[in-house]
């Protein structure tokens, strides 16, 4: 495996992004439904059904209603899902079943640009979903402005990170069924144990430390801190974690995909 050479990557990667975007546009009405509806369903279920039993949650020195506590987590989970599912199932279908990558490689594009374009697109999907959800959540009065505007760049960063993770899985799985494994062992535990639905402090000490390794923990922390304007110094550490993660995972994903496709 070889680390990708930056000279192999040009703005042509955006052509791949453009392809995926133009197809997304064809079906935007359907694509917009989940991010608009999902937060409403969760807020209804948790806010009305569960919040009365949970009461208030103490977070960052403030007392938060349970619904307010989980609203930023829902946006963070959507960022993870949109990017991860795009570069796993969707990219795999394009690579393996539709031969889209083969077609692209017969044009002036090269493999590094194709993979980068796919990941940029996946991050864009995260941004679209996070923005739409934030609008709904804000209309319900849960987000604070201007802090909540930072959700959009955070979605780009978090989207890139999970796009990289997804693409690494795509580079390694033997077949499309195998995605169940990283989803069951990685994505689902993250969904549950990243400070999403309960504060990490409720976990035993060792589990708290383990949770600090999970990228979603840091994304949730950042999204929650920004959207509720609960500023603290350790947000910088979480930001650093995501930045380093992106800088490592994207080249690794490209390198592994090159190894898979170029034989």
């Amino acid at each position: 495996m070889k680390w990708p050479d930056p000279s192999q990557i040009s703005a042509r990667a955006l052509r791949v992004w453009q392809r995926n975007f133009s197809i997304y546009k064809q079906n935007w009405k359907i694509s917009f439904v989940p991010p608009l509806l999902e937060p409403l369903l969760y807020i209804l279920a948790f806010g009305v059904g569960l919040a009365v039993m949970v009461g208030e949650i103490s977070y960052g020195g403030e007392q938060l209603s349970y619904t307010r506590f989980i609203a930023p987590a829902l946006v963070s989970v959507a960022i993870m899902y949109n990017a991860f599912f795009e570069t796993t199932y969707n990219s795999f279908v394009r690579m393996y079943y539709q031969k889209t990558f083969d077609a692209l490689l017969a044009t002036p594009l090269n493999i590094e640009e194709v993979i980068l374009g796919e990941m940029l697109w996946a991050a864009t999907k995260s941004m679209i979903a996070a923005t739409l959800m934030s609008v709904v959540v804000s209309l319900c009065g849960f987000f604070e402005f201007p802090g909540a505007l930072l959700v959009i760049p955070l979605a780009a960063l978090g989207g890139l990170l999970f796009a990289g993770l997804g693409m690494i899985c795509t580079a390694l799985v033997p077949g499309i069924e195998t995605f169940n494994l990283p989803i069951f062992l990685g994505i689902t535990p993250m969904f549950l144990f990243s400070g999403t639905f309960f504060p990490l402090q409720n976990l035993p000490g060792w589990a708290q430390q383990l949770a600090q390794l999970l990228p979603l923990t840091h994304l949730v922390k950042l999204v929650r801190g920004c959207s509720l304007q609960l500023w603290s110094g350790d947000l910088w550490l979480s930001l650093l974690y995501l930045l380093v993660g992106v800088l490592l995972l994207l080249p690794l994903a490209i390198a592994l995909m090159v190894r898979r496709i170029v034989v």
Binding site: R15, S22, Q26, T100, L105, A106, T107, P108, V262
Partner: protein
């Protein structure tokens, strides 16, 4: 200067030498055929020509440009029609062409124009708005070929363009390819249909096990390696075999069928049919298929 220059090209997968030292050149305006049975190394060779598969060794030049340093430029000027359909199922027929033009950074208006011209050329204009899923195999192939021309290439690479097509689609595709050749387009074609190669190729190589067995013009190769005519004898009996063994001619024994390769003249045929047996004896011109089978053997591949 040749359009394509291939020298000592090699590619191995483990212990299998998929391409084992192939050299040839394609001249401007000619249609060059790469013939061989399945697994001979045709597709691997083609894939190395546009940088999809890295080669182990050897030199590759297209348009006089070294492939390692000018791959993008080479791909911009080349049209590639891959063996497997890679059309975009999410786009309509016309948008497949326009979308593909984007990868070559062709301006939108220009792309639309050339898409419409190509649709007309390949008699696809009636299906312009249809989804790929609704197209038959023949229509998909035509669209694949149209797509390979969207960047107005100087060199067209076709990997088994008519495999799996019905005779009508095949005839139409051959006619279109002949037209393109008439306009001066240089074409490299892989196929295992001998009729296709005979009809389209000015020159060809037959490859097997990653090596070139012969190179030349199809008619000349047949004459040189097979002869002018072939006498086929169905269900040969002892009398026929005795007759042939008394003559000095090359006979291939397929048990239920004998093939006799003849250089010229039909005396042997006339003598056989008059004196021994007329039934089941056919004299026909030697074909590229005879040459192909002679060189690559009759045993089944794969």
């Amino acid at each position: 200067m040749p359009i394509l220059h291939v020298e000592s090209l090699r590619k191995a997968y483990g212990s299998l030498n998929a391409v084992d030292g192939i050299s040839f050149a394609v001249q401007p305006g000619e249609c060059f055929g790469l013939l061989g049975p399945n697994g001979a190394g045709k597709t691997t060779t083609i894939r190395m020509l546009y940088g999809y598969t890295p080669r182990d060794s050897g030199r590759l030049e297209l348009f006089g440009l070294d492939i390692d340093r000018h791959l993008r430029e080479i791909k911009r000027r080349t049209g590639i029609c891959q063996q497997e359909d890679s059309l975009d199922p999410d786009l309509s027929v016309r948008d497949n062409l326009i979308g593909y033009a984007r990868y070559f950074s062709i301006p939108r208006r220009e792309a639309q124009q050339s898409a419409d011209q190509l649709l007309e050329f390949f008699a696809l204009q009636g299906r312009a708005k249809d989804k790929i899923m609704t197209l038959s195999g023949g229509l998909k192939r035509r669209l694949m070929l149209a797509r390979a021309l969207v960047n107005q290439p100087e060199f067209l690479i076709l990997d088994e363009p008519t495999t799996g097509l019905d005779p009508q689609s095949r005839q139409l595709l051959w006619q279109k390819l002949a037209e393109l050749k008439g306009r001066g387009l240089t074409i490299l074609l892989t196929t295992h249909y001998m009729e296709e190669a005979e009809r389209l190729c000015d020159r060809l190589v037959i490859v097997d096990h990653g090596r070139i067995l012969v190179e030349g013009q199809p008619r000349a190769l047949v004459r040189e390696h097979v002869g002018h005519t072939v006498l086929e004898i169905a269900d040969p009996d002892a009398a026929v075999r005795d007759f042939l063994s008394s003559k000095s001619c090359r006979v291939e024994d397929l048990d239920r069928r004998l093939l006799v390769y003849l250089d010229d003249g039909d005396e042997l045929f006339l003598q056989l049919t008059r004196e021994v047996r007329a039934e089941g004896c056919t004299l026909r011109p030697a074909s590229l298929e005879d040459l192909f089978l002679k060189l690559t053997g009759r045993e089944l591949r794969e």
